[in-house]
Symmetry: C2
Subunit: 392 residues, 2 copies
Amino acid sequence: MNPHSFFVQQVISALRSVLGSKPVALHEPSFAGNEWLYLKECLDSTYVSSVGKFVDRFELELASFTGAKHAVAVVNGTAALHVSLLLAGVKPGDEVLLPALTFIATANAVAYAQATPHFVDSEERSLGMDARALRDYLSSTTEMRGGHCINRSTGRVIRAIVPMHTFGHPVDIQALLAIAHDFQLQLIEDAAESLGSTVDGRHTGTFGLLGTLSFNGNKTITTGGGGAILTNSDELGARAKHLTTTAKLQHRWNFVHDELGYNYRLPNLNAALGCAQLEQLPSFLDSKRLLFDHYRLAFSAVTGVRLVAEPEGCRSNYWLQTLLLDETLVDQRDALLTATNDVGLMTRPAWKLMHRLPMYSNVPKAPLSMAESLERRLINIPSSSGLVPFVP
Amino acid sequence: MNPHSFFVQQVISALRSVLGSKPVALHEPSFAGNEWLYLKECLDSTYVSSVGKFVDRFELELASFTGAKHAVAVVNGTAALHVSLLLAGVKPGDEVLLPALTFIATANAVAYAQATPHFVDSEERSLGMDARALRDYLSSTTEMRGGHCINRSTGRVIRAIVPMHTFGHPVDIQALLAIAHDFQLQLIEDAAESLGSTVDGRHTGTFGLLGTLSFNGNKTITTGGGGAILTNSDELGARAKHLTTTAKLQHRWNFVHDELGYNYRLPNLNAALGCAQLEQLPSFLDSKRLLFDHYRLAFSAVTGVRLVAEPEGCRSNYWLQTLLLDETLVDQRDALLTATNDVGLMTRPAWKLMHRLPMYSNVPKAPLSMAESLERRLINIPSSSGLVPFVP
């Protein structure tokens, strides 16, 4: 094994100064609240499945925390995105704008709706969609026809835009809302990573027509697997509930379904875990913010790397802490990933950009130079809440 | 309120003689085993999500119990059907044969695969697909062309057949396998309701190319929400795992997905419940069989109604106990449903037949006279394991 470069040694030292000498996961959940109590209560009730008090309560508490008028709990963030796209009117053959730098779920949900992902670039500041570049791109490559935004190259309708709040850092949502307005696009926020993140005090996922959350095991709070749809529309809230519960009409005993629906309801068992986790969310957020402060101090002395901070005017949940290497050091990225993981400090690069995956290699895309730069330079470092003790 | 007819009074008396005087649900789970222990162990491990020891163990134990070479745990039975259809090669524009008398999931999964359900009739004996009628129907309405079964009316390929083991009673699987062979159809068994049911000692769901299970809250065992894909093919087992875990390639840190996949993995938390439930399955099956014996005795004196028994050569799990009214008494069905539910004895009719639902009203269908008769005559009665104490 080659000795590590000075740069790699410096990064490992900075991580160790915050995390200590034991192995550390990238992100693991903490179950120090009422998890066990609520799971037991759920079992004792025998309501572990698609109905029960915890799933209703989880929805109410999610709505309350985020300020959304309605929250509909589903099996995972992917399902939330899929149904949100359908509710936004995305039709087979449409195109949907989304960042090339995202988790696979954003693109797959578009494919499930039989639409085509159309990838756009990100900005370095928020790691999310670059609104300025997007406006220029749409202005020069699309035309409005019959109230729809038409991709001049493909002739297809661009129906919607799905910005994603990357690693919890809010995207420039106001600029994107203006673009959605000007180009007649439905805006759905992929807030899978940004529970607890706000823009001017308003929760991410509540700006668009619909927003989606995820409670996967690696997220800020977890339900095992789970997600939610947020909306301020009474009609869309009711439709979301209907479509995610197999479109079954309410009746004492009849089984009648009035449209193509989905078996996407979050089980009550998973919601029980979610209720306990949600109670601890404020302290998780405090703890993750404190971890950022510790990392900021530790990395202030390391040349060639920048710790990503929340954009101005925004509050980030700091879901995954992120380092960006200088372009001059990108040839050190793989050595850094190997060295850190080898010593038990879990790190990972960005997702492979969507347009490089075989199933999405032939879809429309804007110039993606910043997404490609971020892909080369980005490393996530250990981010669990509770890594540094927070004392209120 | 009108006084009940003599027939309705007789049925209520028969139910009361078995169930006693307290309110009784149609089917509720029993958590008298290691449920709490395993859930706590799962929480303590912090692995509540898509990886963990319980989900691997649950798969191994399902394979062992059913005799399938591979079992792949997923979020629900609908997801299991969806992926099984894709694995069986069902393509957009294909037709898939399924019973009109089934739960909505069977038909919806076909729609998710962008194929068209093609409904066929059921037989009174098993409540499942009528193999004899199906062979006649296919012989007179299809032709073989290029090794495919072509629907002469629509010109489309009929790619697959999805028999369902209704309320746990095994369908005439050998006759259907012969039809699948002769007409070049892939056979997928919807065994969502038949965990524990066998044909000639072999578990349902293991005869077809693929089989699917459900562990919804109302099933013989539950994981909250959950399901599984069964197969004896190493290749299909590996493909099922890959497609249900977002088609992500294994790597220490890279996120690369090589095809369109699905976020369908059963969370470890739900699998922990499943492992505890599976340990009790043999006793649940004994108890449900004993309940059938009690009902058989109680209903032997009631004229005009028949309790459905397992088909010859088969062992049913007796998931939902089923009464069939004589045709002369079908005008009593709604009064019976109302009267029983009003006194706290939960009963329900068959699902509304699939071809009567708006989204499936214009798809191909065979003559459905028996399914329509069964729909008029069928009532499910309380069926939980543990309603009558089983002493080994």
